[in-house]
C-alpha cells in the first residue's frame, strides 16, 4: 500500500469538489474492493475521500411507484428491505447470493456498481501485461488461465468479466444510476453504465472520474415474484459466479407479456439479452420457448480455450431460471 491522504466529507457537493481537486483520488465507500486493490498496489490513489458520512443511505418509495436506493445503503440493508423483498425479489436474491454476510454489511450499492474485475492478472501486479491496469501492456489472460473469463462482448485487448451479482439484477430491472458531477446531476441507464472493453479496457464505466453516484433508481416492476436469480458457482456460498442469470417474466395467464433476461459472469458488463427477451414476448410459457431464448442469448458467444463450458452452462442456466420465474418448475 502507498501512503495516501484521507478526507471525510458529509455532503455530495463537497465530495465532488474534493475529487475534482485531487487528480486520481478516489471515493471510499465500504472499502471492500478498493482497499484490497490498494493493498496490492493495483490502485494507488493519492487521496481517499471518505463518503460514508454523506446521508445517502436511504431506501425510499418514489412517486412513480419505483424505489430509490441510496448509493451508500449497504448491500445487506438493501437486500433485506421490505420494499425490495416485496417488489424486487430478483434484486434481493442477487445481492444475497454474493460475497458473505460480513462483506455485504460493509459493501455499498454505489461501490458494488464500481467493483473491478476479479481477473487474476489484473489483481496481481507481478504480471506486467494487463491492458486494464497498464494500457497497452497486453493481456496475460488471453493465453493464460482464463477459465472464468468472458465469452461475450470481449475484445482481443481484454476478456475480463464484471463480477457483480447485484448489477445483473439491476440490468434486468432497467435501473437508472443517478450521478452528480461538477456540473450537476445526470442519469445513466444501467445498460449504458458499464462498458465493453474494446480498445480501452482500462475504462470500466461511463461514470466520469469526478462524478459521485448518489442513487440507483428502480422503475416500478411488473415482475414481482415471476423472477429468479440463478447463480452457478464452485461452492455453495462465498464464491463468484461462473455464470449467473437474472430472469423476470410479466405473465398473464400462461402468456408472456414481456420478459427481461440478463447474464452475469460472461462479459465485461452485466449482459442484457434483448434479442432473447424479444423472442419471449407475446409467446406462451413453455420449456421449448425457453430453449430457443437460451440459444439466441448465446448465439454470439466466442469462448476461448478454457471457458467453452460457459456457453452450455449459460444456456442451461437461462432455461432453468426462466422455468422457475415462469412458475413451470
Amino acid at each position: 500500500m502507498n501512503p495516501f491522504e484521507y478526507q471525510q466529507v458529509d455532503e455530495p457537493a463537497t465530495a465532488v469538489d474534493a475529487i475534482s481537486r485531487w487528480r486520481g483520488s478516489k471515493f471510499l465507500a465500504g472499502g471492500t474492493n478498493l482497499i484490497d486493490l490498494m493493498k496490492n498496489t493495483v490502485e494507488q490513489p493519492p487521496k481517499l475521500i471518505d463518503i460514508n458520512h454523506i446521508p445517502l443511505r436511504g431506501i425510499e418509495q418514489t412517486p412513480d411507484g419505483g424505489v430509490k436506493l441510496g448509493a451508500l445503503a449497504r448491500n445487506s440493508d438493501t437486500a433485506n428491505h421490505p420494499l425490495i423483498r416485496k417488489n424486487y425479489p430478483l434484486l434481493s436474491q442477487a445481492i444475497l447470493s454474493g460475497a458473505s454476510p460480513q462483506l455485504r454489511n460493509m459493501a455499498t450499492n454505489g461501490g458494488n456498481l464500481l467493483q473491478r474485475t476479479r481477473c487474476p492478472y489484473f489483481m496481481d501486479p507481478a504480471f506486467s501485461r494487463c491492458n486494464k491496469r497498464t494500457p497497452g501492456s497486453g493481456c496475460s489472460a488471453l493465453e493464460g488461465f482464463h477459465e472464468n473469463h468472458a465469452i461475450l462482448g470481449a475484445s482481443d485487448q481484454c476478456i475480463a468479466t464484471h463480477p457483480s451479482d447485484m448489477c445483473v439484477a439491476l440490468a434486468a430491472l432497467e435501473a437508472k444510476v443517478r450521478v452528480r458531477g461538477p456540473k450537476g446531476e445526470r442519469i445513466i441507464a444501467i445498460g449504458d453504465f458499464h462498458r465493453l472493453p474494446g480498445t480501452t479496457p482500462q475504462i470500466d464505466t461511463t461514470l466520469m472520474p469526478d462524478e459521485l453516484i448518489v442513487s440507483i433508481d428502480l422503475p416500478p416492476s411488473p415482475y414481482g415474484s415471476h423472477s429468479h436469480y440463478l447463480k452457478i458457482r464452485e461452492r455453495t456460498s462465498y464464491a463468484f459466479a461462473l455464470v449467473s442469470v437474472a430472469a423476470a417474466i410479466d405473465v398473464d395467464s400462461g402468456w408472456i407479456r414481456g420478459a427481461r433476461l440478463a447474464l452475469g459472469g460472461v462479459a465485461h458488463k452485466p449482459w442484457r439479452v434483448e434479442a432473447a427477451e424479444a423472442a419471449l414476448a407475446g409467446q406462451k410459457l413453455s420449456i421449448s420457448l425457453f430453449e430457443q431464448a437460451a440459444s439466441r442469448a448465446l448465439s454470439g458467444a466466442r469462448p476461448r480455450r478454457d471457458n467453452t463450458y460457459k456457453v452450455e452452462m449459460a444456456k442451461r442456466a437461462i432455461i432453468r431460471a426462466l422455468t422457475i420465474a415462469g412458475g413451470l418448475a
Binding site: 500500500m1 502507498n2 487474476p120 507481478a126 488461465f145 477459465e147 452457478i232 464452485e234 463468484f240 442451461r316
Partner: protein, 727 residues
Amino acid sequence: MNTIGKPISRVDGKLKVTGSARYSAEFDMPGLCYAVLVQSTIPAGRIAGMDDSLARKAAGVLAVLTPENAQRLPGAEKRLSLLQDNQVYYNGQPVAVVVAEKLEEAHHAASLIKIRYSVSAPKLDFVAGFPSSHPGNHNGEPGDMSWGDVDGALKDSDIKIDQVYTTPIHHHNPMEPHAAIAQWNGDELTVHESAQDISGHRAKLAKLFGVQESNVRLICLFVGGGFGCKGPLWSHVPLAAMAARQVNRPVKIVLERPQMFGPVGARPRTHQRLTVGATREGKLTAIRHEVHAHTSVIEDYLESSAFPTRVMYGCPNVSTIHRIVDLNLGTPTYTRAPGVATGTYALEVAMDELAYKLNMDPLQLRLLNYTENDPQTKLPFTGKHLRDCYTRAAERFGWSNRTREPRSMRDGSQLIGWGVATETYPANRRPASALVRFKPDGRVLVATGTHEIGNGIYTIMIQTAADALNVSPDLIDAQLGDTALPPAPITAGSMTVASVTPAIQTAAERVRTRLLQMAVADSGSPVHDASVDEVDFKDGLIFRKLSPNRSEKLGDFIARNGGQPIEGIAHVEPDETLKQKFASHSFGAVFAEVSVDPDLGPTRVRRVTAVYDVGKVLNEKTARSQFIGGIVWGIGLALHEDSHMDARTGRIVNENLADYHVPVNADIGEIDVSAIDIADTHLNPLGARGIGEIGITGTAAAVANAIYHATGKRIRDLPITPQKLIA
C-alpha cells in the same frame, strides 16, 4: 479418576472463543519492529540487479536485507531462501526483507525495491517432466516397493481396470498464517513461532546461526492450524532472526495470505495410474499403482500416494512406484494425510470402477478382499476392526437400500448417488518426554514441548495426568509449546497422543512414587512409617489405605517439607521391535450421499457416515472434531480445493481465500462419525492410535464414487467442479 474417553470440553476453549488465547504474532515487547518479505516475480533465473535506494530512504525503514548484504549462513537447507545468492528457483521466492518501525512503512518500502532479473526457461510442465522424473523416498521409506509378479498376474486376470487419476496442487491455508517474532539477547535467540515442531526448528536455527541449541528457545502456545505446513522450518523464520540481529531489536514477521501460496509448502500435484486385475469372482490378483508427483528444483519431497495400496487389500501381486518431477515451484511438503489422502482417492475410485465392471456391490468387493494381515509382510496388525467399521457404517448409512445402477436414485429433479470407500492411516509413535510437578499450592502441572494445533492436546494432557494420578482435572494445569520444557516430537503424522501420553503416564508414576516415598519418611505426615504400598494419593490427599480419613493435603505436605515442588520427568521411547512383530494402521469406512443437479452441475454432499477403528478414543468431543474436520477436508479435496497455476510463470493465480475454495459451512451436510473404540495397547498403554488425519482419507473417493453413482460420469481429475460435470 476416569476421564479418558469422556467428552470433556477443551480446557482452552474459553480462551479461544474470547480471543484471549495468545497466538505467536500476538506477543509484544519493547522495541518490536516489523519485517516484510519481498518475493521473486519470475520462476527461474538470476537477480541481475536490485535497486533498494528508494526503500532505504523511505520513512521508518531500519534495514533492507538483500542477497548483497545479508549475513552469510553456510549450510542452509536448499529449501530455505536466505538471500545467500542471486539464484531464483521459483516464483514467490523470498529475495529481500524490509524492516521498519511500522508494518505499513515496511510494506510501502518493499514496494519501492526495483529488481532486474535475468530470466531462464522454467520447468513448469508437469507431464512433460515425466521422462526425466526420478525415484525418491518419504520419511526414509522407499518410494518403490513390489511383491509377487504383477505383469504376469495382470496378463492372466479375467478383469482389468487401467485408469489415470489426477489431483491438483493444494495450499494449506490455516486460518493463522505463518508468523514469527525473533529476538536476540547476545548469543541467545528467542523465537515466538507458529510451528508444529519447535524442537526441530530450534535445532535447525541453532545450526544455521552457529550457536548452541540451549541458546535457542522457541515458544508457541497455540497454533491456529497448520495441516503440515508448519512442520518444516521455512525461510521467514531465519530471515526474521537475521533481521533482528541486524537491527538489534525484536522483529516480527507475519506472512500475508498470498504469501501462503508459494514459499511455505504445498500438496504436490499427482498423476496416478492404477492398473488393477481381478478374477471374475472379484478376488484381486494384481495392483500396480504408479505415481508421478512434483517437487521443486531445489529439494525433493515425495507425495507417497501409493503407500496406502501397500496395506489396504489382500493381493498377492502388488507394485507401488513413485517418480518425482522437478518443477520451478516452491518445495512442497506434508499436507494433512500426505500421500494417503490423494492415494486413497485413486485406489478407492479404481476399486469402485472394478466393482461396476464385476457388477458387484462395491462394499462386497472390499469385504471379499479383506486382509487380516499386512499383505506384504504377512505380519498381523496391532489391532484391526475394519470389518466392524464397514458393517456399522453401512447400517447407519442405510447402504442396503441402494440401487446399484448409476442414475437410478433421484430426489425430484436432483440425481442422488451413494458411494463408499475405505480409509486408512498409519499409526506412528516417536520418543517423547514430559514432566509432572506437584506444586506448593497443591496444584499439579503437566508439561511437555508439544503443540496445541486444535488437536485438543492441552485437554488430553490433563486427562492423562488426572487418570494417572487420581487427581481431579480441575486441579491440573497443562503447559506446552516451549523448548524450555521436556521435548516432544513434531505434531504431525497423527502421532502426538501416541507419543506424548506414555511420557506423561511415566512421569506421573514417578512423581507419585517420589511423593509417597517422601511422605512415609516424613515424621510429620499421617502416613509416617508406613510402607509405600500401604499409602495412596488421591484427589490431592495423601493417606493410609487402611485409614483414609487421616489424610494430608498435597499443598500442606509440600509446605511443611521446604515448599519446593516435587517433580517427575520421563523420557519414553517406543518399542522399536514392535515393527518386526506387527503392522500398525488405523482403518475406517466412509459412505457419502451426494445430490447433483444434472443440468447445471453443482454437487452437494448431503451426508457422510464414517466409522473408525483408531484404537482407544481419549476424548469423545475432541475426537469428533478431528474426524469431522478430516471429512470436511475430504470434501474439499473432492469438490473444491485447486491452486491454479499460470503455466508460463508458475505463479498461483488464485492466491486468496475468495478464489482458492475450501468448503464453507453451506457446503457441508450431515456428518455422522463414530469409532469402534477398542484399545490398541500394543502401540502404547492407553491404546490410542491417533485420529488427526484418517478422516480426509477415503472421503474424496466416497464422494467421487457417489457422483458416479448419481450421474454415470466418472470424473478422474479432482476437484469435481460443475464445469467438469456438464462437459
